[in-house]
């Protein structure tokens, strides 16, 4: 009954490959996010969707393509993986309550070799 769930939790791949991370929330929230956390724990917003519509795109390379098939899902596809893409990617969602309270998944650690 996890509120925000991401798969896979760990992903190890070679440079140049294409990979996807999936996210699902069962909280009934309208807004979902992808954040990237680097090795120094810095959290940076990448994308935000509201009701399947992209509302925030924070100058992320075109190799990153989010997709929201419905408001409970927000997937992240990454093409031509680079070493610098290695990070922990967090999905989050937000409901109708206080807008600064995000509910995060447990993260997907991507390692690019």
């Amino acid at each position: 009954d996890t509120a925000v769930s991401q798969t896979p939790k760990y992903l190890v791949t070679q440079m140049g490959n294409d990979k996807s991370i999936k996210c699902e929330q069962n909280l009934g929230h309208d807004t979902m996010y992808w954040y990237k956390q680097d090795s120094k724990k810095f959290l940076k917003i990448m994308f935000s969707y509201n009701n399947k519509e992209l509302i925030i795109n924070e100058t992320v390379p075109n190799r990153f393509s989010p997709k929201s098939p419905d408001k409970a899902h927000l997937n992240l596809h990454i093409n031509s993986l680079e070493l610098g893409d290695s990070a922990v990617y967090f999905c989050a969602s937000r409901g109708q309550g206080f807008p600064g309270e995000l509910f995060f998944g447990e993260g997907s650690r991507l390692t690019v070799l």
Binding site: F42, I55, A92, G100, L102, F104
Partner: protein, 114 residues
């Protein structure tokens, strides 16, 4: 530019002591300031927020202080427990025509020793 940052990357405290985690920010246009806690292997978790027109807010064992004059935010944890060991992030939230954003600072690791 805008930034939300922290003075100390690591804070070590004894169990039972009070902890104070500090944060400096540069953007005065934020509507709220928020503290998140991230335990090892988990995602960040909301702790407490403070509206920009307030200077103090208390929760359960936590107190947020906001000093707008010096653009400083702090999180005080009373009677720190081992379960408080985590990385703490301050974040700023701003309403911006529907494109509401939550911007995180760099994080402080709190280590609680028995």
């Amino acid at each position: 530019g805008e930034s939300v940052g922290l003075h100390l990357p690591t804070l070590s405290v004894q169990e039972g002591d009070n902890s104070i985690i500090n944060c400096a920010y540069s953007n005065s246009a934020s509507d709220y300031f928020i503290w998140y806690k991230q335990e090892s292997g988990k995602g960040p978790q909301f702790i407490i927020d403070i509206r920009s027109n307030m200077d103090k807010r208390q929760g359960q064992r936590v107190t947020v202080l906001l000093n707008k004059t010096v653009k400083h935010l702090s999180l005080q944890i009373a009677a720190t427990q081992p379960g408080d060991s985590a990385v703490y992030f301050c974040a700023e939230f701003r309403f911006s025509g529907g494109y509401n954003k939550l911007i995180f600072g760099a994080g402080t690791r709190l280590a609680v020793h028995p």
